[in-house]
Symmetry: C2
Subunit: 280 residues, 2 copies
């Protein structure tokens, strides 16, 4: 995992220390829209190559790799540290067809026309130049026969119950700090637009919309604890303090609201994820 | 189709004259969460009975009926006129196991313990007493072995591109008129809460979240034309005028924005639908 040298542009901001909920993520609940194409390709070309960009802790990566046991997966992320945890996760779940390599989505450390499948999950929403990133995905994907799957949320779409005022305030702070760090809250609905701006023809793109839903106690406790931690000690809380959006006490109140939400009998949370498949 | 006599409480407000998009609706794209349970019940009890409450133009009803060819479906709606169009639709698509009967969700014209399956799609969000409606669904469903499926949107979750200012204003007006007519914009996330208040035990409820996505030209033209018509001549536009939320010219601008959205190469629209299955 060599650290490539890149100019530091804005990138994944929230930090990985508090995101136990990433471990809930699998190919099935995060990349279902990609699976039919992946299965078809894996069946017809056993030496399939897949690049997972912004792999983070690698749970989706390992899950995707299981669909192509004779193929090879490359996982890349800007953070060397998180890729180490992704490698540990792959080993833990017995997946051994993944190579891990640090790199920026703006300048991927791979030659042109390298991969049959390129997968990106919740990465472009953090970037100030998502179109440049899509161009880079197109560069490393094979010019014919490849498929690129991108899934990005609409941060405005958070839909939760009960409507605790401290959670509503936290949602606002999440969006304000996200954009202050150079990301966009309106990523999902822009995916077709970004693809077209990167040079994709309209007929090469299909959009679907996925959703996440947390309504059962165990998953709510993971989701709630992650956000409580982000409010208390994570980058979102720190940024909110530095921007004067909330006091330490108010952030503590928001963290407690997430904990109360997690155990509320009628508590639930959902959001929308825009998804596109670019098929060439 | 006898008209039952009911005290007129608030009910479906937008009118059915402008809603060509209802014709896009099928069991597959509106009630996928219910289909596994429906198929299982249809396989094990051929004389299955299903009640579709607020059936509207009946496209979902007819689509559900195909999953239980040996069973019987009852479709009910507060509007006799729309049920006549639902009956015509069923005939047109060759489905003949549906009975149509006008009735209010607050006082369904059926005895206790009548149905194996009860289905409700986008009805509770229009009501001032959704918990009373859920109690009525529970009354007519069999006390053991039945399943009740309810799908309601979160009106706040509209996620579209491009972010045309006239569309953003229309979204606000849609929400303001919807609540002024006694409905709630936050129906989807409240479904578990409403079920519990109606007496359902928490372990009897499972929530999922569906989404609608319109991104291809043909479906966008249907969706855009429906909303343009609602802005120009429908109940939403009339209510907005009467509340002083917009002028006739502004509503015309919103209608034109919907038409521009429909043909925009990068145009797309999505929303979240909360879904619960109550299994007894």
């Amino acid at each position: 995992m060599a650290q490539t040298s890149q100019p530091q542009r804005n990138t994944y901001f929230p930090g990985h220390q508090d995101v136990k909920h990433h471990q809930l993520r699998t190919a099935e609940n995060c990349a279902a829209y990609l699976l039919p194409a992946l299965k078809e390709k894996a069946a017809s070309s056993p030496n399939l190559t897949l690049l997972d960009v912004g792999a983070g802790p690698g749970t989706i990566t390992a899950s995707l790799a299981k669909y192509m046991p004779n193929g090879h997966v490359t996982a890349t992320d800007i953070s060397d540290k998180v890729l180490q945890s992704a490698a540990a996760h792959a080993e833990q779940v017995g997946v051994n067809n993944i190579t891990f390599q640090t790199g920026s989505v703006y300048s991927l450390p791979f030659p042109d026309d390298s991969f049959d499948v390129v997968h990106v999950h919740q990465v472009l929403c953090y970037l100030d130049s998502p179109v440049d990133a899509v161009k880079e995905l197109l560069r490393v994907a094979k010019p014919t026969g490849s498929v690129i799957g991108i899934c990005e949320t609409d941060m405005r779409s958070w839909s939760f119950w009960p409507l605790l005022p401290a959670l509503q305030r936290f949602h606002q702070i999440q969006m304000e700090t996200h954009e202050a760090n150079g990301g966009t809250n309106v990523a999902g609905p822009q995916l077709i637009s970004w693809a077209l701006k990167a040079g994709v023809r309209r007929e090469q793109v299909r959009m679907t919309q996925g959703s996440w839903c947390y309504s059962e106690r165990a998953e709510k406790e993971v989701w709630g604890a992650s956000w409580a931690s982000r409010a208390r000690t994570g980058e979102v809380g720190k940024k909110a303090l530095s921007m004067g959006l909330a006091t330490k006490d108010e952030l503590e109140e928001m963290a407690k609201a997430w904990e109360a939400w997690a155990v509320a009998e009628d508590g639930c949370f959902a959001l929308l994820n825009g998804e596109i498949l670019i098929q060439r």
